[in-house]
C-alpha cells in the first residue's frame, strides 16, 4: 500500500489562542505500507524514513499499543482515533484505508489541551480534575472485608462501564465545545453506582464540575460526538448521571 499523509508539524509548545501560527500541515508519502500494520506502525515507518533523510521525526504520544493506556490519539481525517468505532489509534489498522489514500493527521484541538509538539498535547487538565475529588478517601489498611458489602450485579456493571474510561481525551477533541463532560461524567458515574462512593458524592460532584470549568472545558450541547468516538464506547448516560449528581449536590447545599 501507498498513502499520502498531511501531518501537523509544530516545534514549540502553543502559547497563543490562534494556533494556526504555531505550526503547519506538511505532506509526506509513505510507500511500503502493509495492510496488517497498525496506524502507529505506519507512522513508525514514516519516522524511520524521515530520520534517514535527515528530517526530525514526527512526535506523537503512544505507549502500550494495545488500546488501554490512553496515551495515543490523533485526529484522522477530522475524526478522533479515525474511522473504526470503539478503537484507539494504536489499534486501528491500515486495512481500514484504501491503497493510495490521502490522510489528514492533526493533534487533539482544545484550549485546555495545548499542543506541545507536532501531535503531542498536554492533557494534565484531566489529572487535575481527578485530583479534585475523583476518588474514595480511604487510607491504606483501613478497609473491612471485601465481601462485607454486597453490590447488586447491575450496579457493579454500571460502575464498571463508566470505569473503562482510558482518559485519552478523544471526547474533548471531538466536541465542538471542547467539553470534557463524558470524561468527568464517567468518573462521577463510576463512584455514584457503588455504595463505597456514596459517602462523598455531593462534594465529589461539586468539586469535579468546578475544576472542569476552571480548566476551560466547554459545555455539553447534546451532539453525541463524544460517545461516537469514545474508544471504550462509554455511553452518554454518564453525562446524565453527572448532571443528576451535581443538581442533587446543589439542592442539598441550599
Amino acid at each position: 500500500m501507498k498513502v499520502k499523509l498531511h501531518i501537523w508539524r509544530q516545534s514549540k509548545k502553543s502559547t497563543r489562542k490562534d494556533f494556526k501560527q504555531d505550526g503547519k500541515m506538511v505532506c509526506y508519502e509513505v510507500d511500503h505500507v502493509s495492510p496488517d500494520m497498525s496506524f502507529l506502525e505506519m507512522l513508525d515507518v514514516l519516522n524511520e524514513d524521515l530520520i534517514r533523510s535527515g528530517e526530525e521525526p514526527v512526535a506523537f504520544d503512544h505507549d502500550c499499543r494495545e488500546g488501554i493506556c490512553g496515551s495515543c490519539g490523533v485526529m484522522i481525517d477530522g475524526v478522533a482515533h479515525g474511522p473504526e468505532k470503539g478503537t484507539t489509534t494504536c489499534q486501528l489498522h491500515m486495512r481500514s484505508f484504501q491503497d493510495g489514500a490521502e490522510i489528514y493527521i492533526e493533534p487533539w484541538r482544545a484550549s485546555a489541551f495545548p499542543v506541545i509538539r507536532d501531535l503531542v498535547v498536554d492533557r494534565a487538565a484531566f489529572d487535575r480534575v481527578v485530583q479534585s475529588g475523583a476518588y474514595i478517601s480511604v487510607n491504606t489498611g483501613a478497609p473491612q472485608d471485601a465481601n462485607a458489602i454486597p453490590i447488586p450485579k447491575p450496579d457493579a456493571d454500571k460502575a464498571f462501564d463508566a470505569a473503562t474510561c482510558i482518559g485519552c481525551g478523544a471526547c474533548v477533541a471531538s466536541c465542538k465545545n471542547a467539553s470534557a463532560m463524558l470524561f468527568v461524567g464517567a468518573k462521577i458515574s463510576h463512584f455514584a453506582h457503588l455504595p463505597q462512593g456514596k459517602v462523598e458524592r455531593e462534594q465529589r460532584a461539586r468539586n469535579l464540575v468546578e475544576q472542569m470549568d476552571e480548566e476551560g472545558f466547554g459545555n455539553c450541547t447534546n451532539q453525541y460526538e463524544c460517545e461516537a468516538v469514545c474508544p471504550k464506547e462509554i455511553p452518554i448516560r454518564v453525562i446524565a448521571d453527572m448532571n443528576r449528581e451535581f443538581l442533587r449536590a446543589k439542592a442539598k447545599e441550599e
Partner: protein, 636 residues
Amino acid sequence: MNLDARIPDGPIQDKWDTRKFQLKLVNPANKRKYRIIVVGSGLAGASAAASLAELGYAVDCFCYQDSPRRAHSIAAQGGINAAKNYRNDGDSIWRLFYDTVKGGDFRAREANVYRLAQCSVNIIDQAVAQGVPFARDYSGLLDNRSFGGAQVSRTFYARGQTGQQLLLGAYAALSRQIGLGTVTMYNRSEMLDLVKVDGHAKGVVVRDLVSGEVRSHAADAVIIATGGYGNVFYLSTNAKGCNVTAAWRAHKQGAGFANPCYTQIHPTCIPVSGDHQSKLTLMSESLRNDGRVWVSKKQGDKRLAHEIPNDERDYYLERKYPSFGNLAPRDIASRAAKEVCDDGRGIGDTGLGVYLDFRDSIERLGEPAIKARYGNLFHMYQKITAENPYKQPMRIFPAVHYTMGGLWVDYDLQSTIPGMFVCGEANFSDHGANRLGASALMQGLCDGYFVVPYTIGGYLAGQRPGAVDTNHPEFRKVEQEVEDRTKRLLAVKGKRTVDDFHRLLGKTMWDGCGMARNKAGLEQAIRDIPVMREEFWQDVKVLGSAETMNQSLEKAGRVADFLEFGELMCRDALAREESCGGHFREEHEIEGEAKRDDENFAHAAVWEHTGEIHNSIRHQEELVFDNVKLAVRSYK
C-alpha cells in the same frame, strides 16, 4: 557485596509480624520532615507513593508518561490472586504460598513469598474500598476464576482489564494525595541516574521530557518502581517506553542485579505478522480456562482448522499434563508450543503458532456466555488479526512478557545501596524463576501498599531528615555526567536509526537467550553484543536537540542501556548451568522437561558492577527451603 537478606527468625507465619515489631518507628510529627522519592507510577509506585503520603511523609513521584495513570500495569488483563478462599475450595495462605514457590521452580525466597500470600487478602479489601469494580455474581459478592498453575479459583478479575481497574484505584489514591499537596507529581520526567552521598541513596537526576532540562531532586530515601526489562528483546508485550534505564543506572552505582536471565515467555500472544511489527499483544491467560490448545498431528498440515477432524488433532497440553491440562503454568505451556512448532506442526504461514480453540466451550456454554467472559479480548483479537475467534480458533504464539529478575533486595525490599528500596517487577524477590498468572498485580500492590510503607520507616528512623540537598557537589557531578551522555548521543550523527539497533539487539537476544538457551548460542550473543554496542556509539543517528521534546533521544538513551544490560543477561544465563522455570538450558533436560540442579544452583545469582560488564562479579544468596520440600515440579 553484602547479601544478608535479614529474614526475621521464627516460624514463617510469624516472620512479618516479628519484623513489623522490630522496625523502628518515625514519630508522626517528624514524618513530614522526611522526603521520599518514588520513581515509577505503576501499581507498585503509585500504591507506595499514596500510602507513604497518607502516613505523613513528603513524597516526590516521577513517571515518564504524561499521566501516572498510563504506567504499563494498566495493560494487565487477567486478574489478581488472593487467598480469600471465598469459593470454599480449599484455598489458604499456605496453599498460595506453596503454589507460588513451586510455580517459581523453587528459586524464590520463602519468607518473602509467605508475606506476599498473607498480604494478598488485604489487597482485595483495599481495592474494593477504593471502588475497584471487580466482577461480581448475582448475589452481589465477588466472583473468582482459576488461572494457570493453580487448582483452586482464587483469581479476582474485572472483565479483561483488571490491571487498569487496579491501577485506577492506586492512581485515585495517589491523585488524592497530589490534590492534598503531600505528593508532588512530576509527569513526563525520566530518571537518568541515581545520586549517592556517603554510600546512601539521596536523590535522582531526571530529564524533563518536554523542556529537556536536566534536574536534580534530593530526598532521604529513594524507591525504584520502574518495572521490568522485557523490551531488551525489542518485541515484547511491554509498552514501547518500558526500559531498564533506572534499574541499570542504579546497578552501575552499586546495586546488585539478581537473576537477570529469568524472563517469562507468555504462551498466549498474537503471532508476529511481519517485519514492521512494533510490539506483541497478549491474549490473557484466562482464555485457557475455556479454550483448548492444539495443533495437527501431521507435520506441515495446510488444511484449515475446521477441516481437521478431532482424531487428527493433538491437544498436546491435555495429553502431556492431564491433571493441569490447558492450565499448565506459563513456562511449561510456552515450551510445549515451541516443541510442536520445532516439530514442523506449527500453524499459519510462518509455522510459528498454535490454535486456541473455543469451539467446544461455545457448544457447551453458548456464545453469549463466552462473550460475557472474554468479549473484550475476542474483540481485540479480531481488530488486530481481522479474524473472528467465535468462528475460527485463535492463533497464538509465545512472547516475552515479564521479567522475574531485577534489582536484589533484602526482606525489607532494600537494595544493596542503603536507602534505595525496590518494588514491583523491578525487584527480583517473589517469583523465583517463573511467575504464575495473576501474581504480578498481587506483588506490585503488596510491595507498595503493605511492605515498603513499613520497612522504609525502619531505615528513615536512623537518618537525619533533610541531611542532603541538591547543592551537594555529588548532584552537580551526576548531572554533568547525564548531560555529557546526552550530548554524546546527539554528537554521533551516524547513519543508522535507534530502532535499527534495537531490532538487531532484540533478535540477538531472542536467538541466544530466548525460550531455550544453550552454551554456544549464549557465547555467540556475548561476542555479538559488545560489537553492536560499539557500532551504536559510532553510527547511531539521533536528530534534533537536547533542549526540546525529543523522542528519538529518549529512545536512544534507553537502547544504549539495553545494549549493556543484554550482555549481563546472557552472562547470567550462561553461568546458570541448570534449567529452572523460564530459564531453559537445552543441556539440562529430562524428556523435554526442565532439569534443576538444587545441589549447585539453589541460589539467587547477584551481579556486582565493577566497571566493565565482562568483569562483573557473580555473588550468591543461598536459598533455604525449610517449609516447602524441594521436589521435581510436576504438572502431570
